[in-house]
């Protein structure tokens, strides 16, 4: 008897097998449950493969999208539908970074505890930090050109304006023929989040930061610009003849000759180190949505490529949101408050749900002393040059840097403007890029002016 009784314990292997196997399932459920519920046959949240629960509103509670069974409602204004398309997303899931797609689980109110059960059956509301009014202004200002506009509060991290063009009306999805048109190139990509561009002169901010910390005599140096310089038998041209100038004026005048020299003094490794440290080469997250990382290739010392890489040409690529975050860090004494797109999830009966999107996170990108000097120099750019343009002089603490990124394929350059307001009441950091438009001061800067004007600063 005892012999057989001992043999029966072998059956407990089945118990162990069940526990082990189900343990694997539980582990997968915790890791991947949110992916499983967004399977479009899930009729608790989808009807005919289209999300059927939840809403998206802007910072003022204005409706941007409302999903229910068989009916999808978007903003009543066509302009708002166009300007918020990439932030909100589309019903077919083409714009993967739109909150409707990326945060579908939040719209259905999914949690690993409660599943997708919704007491009212209507799901949750995602409140975006975006102001539809600012988005509309930026979209209008882009005037049919491809580009990206970002403005965010560098104290709270709230993204106030995020526009990517080209765009289309969510009520009229693009036909396959339309997608062939060059006008709609990359229409499903949110350029603010998922694209990287050649930075041109705005990369001088990185080179300068590296120079401040690595060239002790920087502020005693005098640069001589004759409109061009020769490095390794190749010519680097400047936008104008700057003559003899110190680092302040070299930066304000965006002198390529001076920065070509500085890049040689620093080396490619140091430039790479700073591009990395300043957050341009990392993929951080904006409300969980991953931002595209930029790239920087280390060129050999003494080569013309090294000089070009310090001026933001060569193989340099940056993401507009990462650039804005760098501006935010400079404005905020070196500490970047990470941008966030979602300010909260509103559950049934208007109950706020979870703290996940309500908290801010920070990252120090540079030493506070360096940030103070950089802020001073960016401010000097405005007082010495930019304040003469548009209404920039009217904005308190206006600081920034324009850029014009030359294209290798001979197309018109990208126009850039990035900066911030050094003003405690208006802690705004911003970046504008207009693709293949021309000179940054002419193409991108007016859009900055329009948004800041719309903010009533």
């Amino acid at each position: 008897m005892r012999k057989i009784a001992m043999r029966t314990s072998a059956c407990l292997l089945l118990v162990l097998f069940m526990i082990g196997g189900f343990g694997i399932y539980l582990f997968r459920y915790i890791l991947e449950g949110d992916r499983w519920v967004t399977f479009q046959v899930n009729r608790h949240a989808y009807s005919d493969a289209i999300l059927s629960v939840g809403k998206v509103v802007d910072c003022n509670g204005q409706l941007l999208a409302s999903m229910s069974k068989g009916q999808q409602t978007f903003s009543s204004s066509e302009l708002t539908r166009l300007s918020t398309l990439h932030a909100v997303g589309d019903i077919h899931g083409n714009i993967g970074t739109g909150v409707m797609n990326y945060h579908a689980t939040d719209m259905m109110g999914y949690s690993r505890i409660g599943g997708v059960y919704s007491h009212t059956g209507r799901g949750n509301t995602i409140q975006l930090s975006i102001d539809a009014k600012l988005n509309n202004a930026a979209y209008t200002a882009l005037a049919g050109r491809k580009g990206a506009v970002i403005a965010y509060n560098y104290r709270t991290g709230e993204v106030l304006c995020m526009v990517s063009t080209p765009s289309y009306d969510a009520y009229y999805p693009l036909s396959p023929e339309q997608l062939e048109w060059s006008y709609y190139d990359g229409v499903y990509i949110n350029r603010c989040i998922s694209s990287t561009f050649t930075p041109g002169s705005i990369f001088k901010i990185v080179t300068l930061t590296a120079a401040i910390e690595n060239i002790p005599e920087l502020f005693d140096m005098t640069f001589c610009c004759e409109g061009h310089t020769v490095i390794a038998n190749e010519v680097i041209t400047c936008s104008s003849v700057h003559g003899y100038c110190d680092i302040y004026d070299a930066f304000a005048g965006s002198c390529n000759v001076a920065f070509a020299e500085i890049a040689q003094m620093l080396s490619g490794e140091i430039l790479y180190e700073y591009a990395l440290k300043l957050g341009l080469l990392e993929s951080f997250k904006v409300s969980d949505i991953p931002v595209a990382a930029g790239s920087f290739i280390i060129a050999a010392g003494g080569s013309v490529d090294l000089s070009w890489s310090g001026i933001g040409q060569y193989e340099d690529l940056v993401n507009p949101l990462a650039m804005t975050r760098l501006m935010a860090a400079i404005a905020n004494k070196g500490v970047a408050v990470n941008p966030r797109l979602i300010t909260g999830i509103i559950g049934e009966y208007g109950m706020p749900k979870g703290l996940k999107y309500r908290t801010t996170s920070n990252k120090r990108l540079m030493a506070s002393e360096t940030a103070v000097i950089m802020a001073k120099m960016l401010r000097y750019n405005a007082t010495s040059v930019y304040n003469g343009y548009y209404s920039f002089a009217e904005y308190p603490g206006f600081s920034g840097k324009s850029g014009t990124a030359e294209m290798k394929d001979g197309k018109d350059p990208h126009g850039w403007f990035t900066g911030f307001l050094a003003d405690i009441d208006n802690p705004i950091a911003f970046t504008v890029i207009v693709e293949n438009s021309g000179w940054g001061m002419q193409q991108a800067a007016p859009i900055v002016d329009i948004i800041l004007g719309e903010m009533n600063i």
Binding site: R2, L14, Y110, R112, G114, G121
Partner: protein
């Protein structure tokens, strides 16, 4: 009259849903939390009752040795010898490792069987050839050592009667009340899930189940048995299964789906009682083995002759409007045929006939292409073979042979290979090979811990959702906690059977109980892990829960085996009370 009343209630519900939908919402929102809470409560009470008490072994007499040793005889079948895993250990060099078997006879006498030991057994100064019948008080010589078999004194019998009775610590009535509450909650959820499909059968189905549950408890009270945790576990699983089939009704299925389940439940319970009664008498039970073996094979041959092909397997037989799966009944017979008393385990080639039966069954199943059943029969065979032989080398060889056979099968039956190809890749092919698994996982994740409410899921609309994917339906509608409770219920049955083995009266009961419960757990493993893409999907039912009359009926019958192995005092109706009467030919020492 009846139908007009039903129509009135239905219209009222539709009106309520339209005008005061908030009320219906709150019923779901509150009950979806209560159902898992009640489930956990029920299960923990049952588990506590089953495992808390220290099991005091039964005692049938003593072996008194010349050196003063007083060895209790705690089973009907005892192995005597020098080895440490003998039941009566006689640690003398002249005694063989496995020397003899002492078996209790129907007439209170004992049969002593010599296991071809070197030194043999002597009785009345004569060498025993094979076996001898002895009474209490008789002195025998085992390997030259004198031993006397003595019966229990009156005082010892009273001590036996004073053993702990289950049900003292955990009142079974309260568990029954909780089961009642669970059924009421499930019924309420289903009445409100789809008012347009309301029929009285939805609440009545649960009402009938509650009446049967209580009827059974009252029967046990009359029989003065207080341990029926095993049945309560089955009742719990049946309630969950009932919510799955009633959910189909609430979603517009025909009423027969519920009536069939209730009918199978009642017949299953009756078969359980009949089989349990049959097992009380070991001699009677033992004599049924051969007929059962013949029946197992006969049932499978019957499905070959009269069966219809459904979903690629020829395993359904239609008789007078009822569809029956003979292979389900064959499982029960196969377990029965496989079990054996201790003396048979020491017989030469004790497994040979069973192996022949298994091969014959495997052939029949291959012919009907019932791959799922084949793998379950094979598992059962492995367990029985191991318990009867204890020979790991042979078992490993059999597994290896089966593995090769399986590979050949995959080669010749391409649809099986197709199932394997999508295994672990359900999310790569969610509309093709991983169709069912991806949907099961999506639905199960949607349910979270508490589910979306009985009858409100969508997985049930997928083909075979109420059988092969039933675990997904349960988790989607009732939540992960209830799903885990269902798994634990079956694991408890198996663990309890293994635990009972130490105190069982006969290996007949022990082998049957562990083999039957292993079979149920194995089915659950294939069902749950298959639908969740952790094992290949084989299309096997979840015991007690999956929709299917034959399966439910057989699951209940299987429970008779652990009942017969449960020797806690006054626990099981399938275990005869033996201490009531004092044997007449008892000789006191």
């Amino acid at each position: 009259m009846f139908f007009s009343l039903q129509e009135i209630v239905k219209q009222e519900l539709i009106l309520l849903d339209g005008e005061h939908s908030e009320i219906l919402r709150w019923v779901t929102s509150v009950s979806r939390i209560l159902i898992p809470v009640v489930s956990v409560f029920i299960l923990s009470r049952i588990a506590y009752s089953l495992f808390k008490s220290k099991q005091v072994p039964e005692c049938w007499g003593y072996f008194n040795l010349a050196n003063g040793l007083h060895i209790p005889i705690s089973h009907w079948e005892n192995l005597i010898g020098r080895a440490r895993n003998c039941d009566v250990i006689m640690n003398f060099p002249t005694v063989s490792r496995n020397h003899a078997i002492l078996m209790r006879q129907e007439d209170e006498r004992w049969l002593l069987i010599d296991l071809a030991s070197k030194t043999g057994i002597s009785f009345m100064d004569k060498k025993v050839k094979d076996s001898v019948v002895i009474d209490y008080g008789d002195v025998i010589t085992i390997g030259g050592i004198e031993a006397q078999l003595v019966g229990l004194t009156l005082e010892e019998k009273q001590r036996q009667e004073a053993r702990e009775v289950p049900g003292r610590e955990v009142n079974p009535a309260l568990t029954m009340y909780l089961l009642t509450v669970l059924n009421i909650l499930l019924g309420a959820q289903l009445c409100f899930a789809h008012p347009a499909n309301f029929t009285f059968l939805i609440p009545f189905g649960f009402l009938i189940a509650i009446v049967i549950f209580w009827g059974y408890s009252i029967l046990m009270k009359i029989l003065r048995r207080s341990g029926f945790e095993i049945e309560q576990l089955a009742f719990y699983l049946t309630s969950i299964g009932l919510s799955v089939v009633t959910g189909s009704l609430a979603n517009g299925a025909a009423v027969t789906v519920v009536t069939k389940t209730l009918l199978a439940f009642v017949i299953g319970l009756l078969m359980f009682l009949v089989l349990g009664w049959l097992l009380r008498d070991l001699k009677r039970a033992n004599s049924m083995r051969w007929p059962m073996a013949v029946l197992a094979l006969g049932l499978l041959l019957f499905s070959i002759v009269a069966g219809r092909v459904v979903n690629g397997a020829k395993n359904w037989v239609y008789i007078g409007g009822f569809s029956i799966q003979p292979s389900e009944f064959a499982k029960l017979c196969f377990v029965y045929a496989g079990t054996a008393t201790l003396d048979r385990l020491f017989a030469k080639r004790n497994l040979l006939m069973y192996m022949i039966l298994t091969v014959a069954i495997a052939g029949a199943l291959a012919y009907t292409s019932d791959f799922g059943a084949a793998i379950i029969f094979f598992m059962c065979f492995l367990i029985v073979a191991f318990m009867r032989s204890g020979d790991i080398a042979t078992i490993s060889l059999i597994i290896l042979a089966a593995f090769v056979g399986g590979l050949l099968l995959i080669r010749f039956k391409p649809y099986i290979a197709y199932r394997f190809s999508s295994w672990r890749h359900a999310w790569d092919l969610p509309h093709d090979g991983g169709f069912q698994q991806a949907r099961t996982m999506s639905a199960a994740a949607s349910g979270g811990l508490f589910g979306v409410g009985a009858g409100r899921g969508w997985l049930r609309n997928i083909v075979a959702a109420d059988t092969d994917l039933v675990f997904g339906v349960v988790v989607e509608e009732l939540g992960l906690i209830v799903g885990i409770c269902c798994i634990i219920s079956l694991l408890i049955l198996l663990i309890f059977s293994v635990r009972s083995a130490t105190h069982g009266r006969s290996t007949f009961y022990i082998i049957a109980a562990t083999a039957a419960m292993s079979m149920l757990v194995f089915q659950m493993i294939l069902n749950v892990l298959g639908s969740l893409d952790i094992l290949p999907l084989t299309g096997v039912t979840f015991p007690f829960i999956s929709n299917g009359g034959s399966s439910l009926l057989v699951c209940y019958s299987m429970l008779a085996f652990p009942k017969a192995a449960d020797t806690r005092r006054l626990a099981s109706f399938a275990t005869r009370r033996e201490f009531f009467y004092i044997p007449q030919r008892r000789k006191t020492v």
